[in-house]
C-alpha cells in the first residue's frame, strides 16, 4: 500500500554490508589466513562503502531523519554531482566492489550482503529514485521595505479647505465623497 522508497532500505543495507565487509576483512588480515590480500581489499572496500553510504538521502515525501554528524559527508558526496546522485551508478559500483570479496571465506558474507544491497539499489533506480542531500534550510531574512520605516510625508488628499468648512445652511450640499475610501471602526 502506498509508495515504498526502496533507496532508504538499500542505503541501510549497504551501510551494514560495508561494516560486515570491514569486520570480515579485519578478521582475515589478523588471522593471516590464505588469501589475506582479499581481506585487505575487504577492509579498504568496507571503509569506502561506509563513507559513501553514511549520509542518508532526503525523502521525496515526508520528513527525513538524519544520521548524527552526517553533514560533512553529505557535502563531500554531494560534490560528486550526478555520479553519486544516480542510483544506477551506485548499483553497479556496489556490484563491482562486492565481487573480489567472494574469493575469501572471511569476506564472503560482506560480498553477499553488498550484492543484495546493489540489487535493491537497482530496483530503486528503475523506479526513478534519486539521492538528494539533506541540507539545513538557510533562513532568508527579508529586509523591511523602505516605506515601512519612514512616516508618510504628505497628508492624505482632501478637498480644499473652503469646501470642507461646515455649512449649516446647506448640509446636504456640503457632503463630499472621499477620494480614498475610509473604513470606520466597526462595533
Amino acid at each position: 500500500m502506498g509508495k515504498i522508497e526502496w533507496a532508504m532500505w538499500a542505503n541501510e543495507q549497504a551501510l551494514a554490508s560495508g561494516l560486515i565487509l570491514l569486520t570480515g576483512g579485519i578478521v582475515g588480515v589478523a588471522g593471516q589466513f590464505a588469501g589475506w590480500q582479499f581481506a585487505a581489499y575487504g577492509v579498504a572496500a568496507g571503509v569506502f562503502v561506509c563513507l559513501l553510504e553514511y549520509p542518508r538521502g532526503r525523502r521525496a515525501k515526508g520528513t527525513s531523519v538524519e544520521r548524527t554528524g552526517q553533514y560533512c559527508l553529505t557535502v563531500c558526496v554531494k560534490a560528486f554531482g550526478p555520479i553519486t546522485r544516480n542510483y544506477y551508478v551506485r548499483a553497479f559500483l556496489h556490484a563491482a566492489l562486492c565481487v573480489p570479496g567472494g574469493f575469501m571465506l572471511a569476506t564472503v558474507l560482506g560480498c553477499v550482503c553488498l550484492g543484495i544491497a546493489s540489487l535493491i539499489y537497482l530496483l530503486a533506480a528503475i523506479r526513478g529514485e534519486q539521492w538528494l542531500p539533506i541540507l539545513p534550510k538557510t533562513e532568508t531574512r527579508e529586509k523591511p521595505r523602505e516605506s515601512i520605516k519612514e512616516p508618510p510625508q504628505n497628508p492624505p488628499p482632501r478637498p480644499p479647505a473652503d469646501l470642507r468648512r461646515k455649512r449649516l445652511e446647506d448640509v446636504e450640499g456640503a457632503a463630499y465623497v472621499n477620494p480614498i475610501p475610509v473604513t470606520g471602526s466597526e462595533d
Binding site: 515504498i4 541501510e12 554490508s17 553477499v112 543484495i116
Partner: protein, 544 residues
Amino acid sequence: MAVSWRSWTANEGAKHIVLWLSANTVLFWKTFTLYCYGPQYYYLYKMLGLGLCLSRASAAVLNLNCCLVLLPMCRAVLAILRGSQKVMSRKARRLLDKSKTFHVACGVAICLFSVVHVSAHLANVYSFSLLYSEEFPSLNIARHKGEVSWCVCFAVPGVTGVLLVFILFLMFTASSHGIRVCSYEIFWYTHNLFVVFYMVLLVHVAGGALKYQTNVEDHPPGCLGSNWTGGSDNVCRAEPHFQAHFPQTWLWVSGPLCLYCAERLYRYVRSCGRVTVESVVKHPCGVVEVRMLKSGFTARPGQYIVLNCPSVSSFECHPFTLTTCPTGTEATFGIHMRVLGDWTERFVELLLSEDSAETETLPVVQRRTYPKFYVDGPFGSSSEDVFNYEVSLCVAGGIGVTPFAGVLRALMGDWQHYKLRRLYFVWVCRELGSFYWFADLLCGLHQKLWQENRPDYLNIQLYLSKTEALQVCVGRQYQALSARLQVGRPRWPELLDDIGKSNKDKRVGVFCCGPKGISKALHQLCNSGRSCGTTFEYNKESFG
C-alpha cells in the same frame, strides 16, 4: 537529593535490565571457561583454540536471547497478565510497558553476538583445515589437511549459518528508526521472516560439528599413549571417543516458539468473529468515530485493538485505542481514527462512501454496505493503570487523547469504585476543532462530579498550542471548557510543582500519550524530583 533519587528509582529502577545483562554475562563466562578448561573439550581446544570458546560462548548467549526475544511479542498473554491485578504488582505491570524496549535489546544482542559467533567460526573453519588432527580423525570436519575452507563450509551448519546471517541482515537493516518512519511495510514484511529464521536455526544446531569426549575417565586428556613403556600412572586405558552434542537450542527455543504460535492461533481465531458497524461519525480536524459490535468482546478502558481490512490491504494491521469500551449495559465499542496516511484514507473512504444511486430513488430503506474488517484484541497498554493511583496526571497531545477518553468514559459510569481520587487532565491541541471530539464527554463528566459534590476530582486544562491567526470561539454549552482553555504551550515545571504542592507525599502516576517532545520533557521532569516529597511515576503510552 534524597527525593530525586527516589523519583529516579521509581522511574528508571532498571533492575530488570541489570538482571538481563548479568544473565548474559554469566552465561557467556561459564560457557567460555567450560570450553577452555573442561576435560571433555581438551583435544578440541588444542585444535581450535580461542575460536572454540568464543563461538560456543556466543552461541549460548544467542540461545538465551533467541528464547527471550519472542516473549515480549506475546501480546495477548501480556494483556492477560496485565489484567490480573492479584497476580501482578504495579511494578511488574510497569515492566510490561517496557516490553518493546526489551524486545529491541534482545534483538540487538542477537545481532552483536552473531557477529562474534560468525567471526569465531570463520577462524574455526581455518583451524579445522590447517590443524587437521591425524591422531583423532573422528574429531575433524575437514576431510584432509589443508582442505580448502570453502568445502568445509558446505556442511549443514555452514549453509544454514550463511542463510541465518542473510535473514538476520535483512531483518536488522529494515528495523532502523528511519525505515520504520519512512515505510513501515518494509519493516513489517521483513520482520515476519523470523519464522524462516527459527526453522533454519533448528536445523543449524543439528549439524553436530563440534564434538565432546565421552570417556574422560578411561582416557584422561593428556594421558600417555598405550605404547609408553616407562612406568607411569597416567596411562590411557582406552582410545578417546567423541560424540556430537544434543542440540541444546531445541530446548531453549521450543518453549517460547510454541507459546508464540499458540498465541497467534488464538488471536486469529478470536479475530475471525463478525464485526458489525453500528455508526460512523465524522468529527472536525479529520477524525472519524466508528462504533461497532462484536459478540463476546470485552475490554478495559485504556486498551487498544488492531484492525485489518482486506479490501484496503490484505496484510496491514493498524492499532487504535478504544475510546468507548463495552460495558454491562451497552455492548458497543468505538474508536476515534485520525485520517493520516494511505490506509486510513482509503478505509474512511470505504466507510463513508454514499451510494450515489440512492439520490434517484426514494430512500425508503437506506442500506449502507460497510467494508468487512477484522478486529484483533484487546491488548493492554500503560493507560490501564490510571485507576491504580490515588492521583493521576494524564497528558494528551492531539489524537493521543484516545486512551484517556476511554478512562473518562469509565469514570462517567462509576467513579466511586476506583482507587483514583484525583485526576489532572491536560490536553494540548493545535486546532480548536480538535477539542470538539470529546467536549461533550468532558463537560458531562465535569457536570456530574459537581453535582455529586466532588469538584476537586477532575482538573481539566486545555491548551491551544498554535498561537497565530487565532479566533477562539467556543459554544455556550461548553462554558466549563472555555473557562479552562489557555492559548500557548503548557509550562511543565510549574504544572508539576502545582500538582506536587496540592498532593504532598503522594505517589502521582504520570501518563503521557503524545509527541516525543512532550513525553521527553515530562520524563525528565519526573526523574528530576520536585520538592514537597511527591513522587512522580512516569508511564509512557506506546503501541508495542
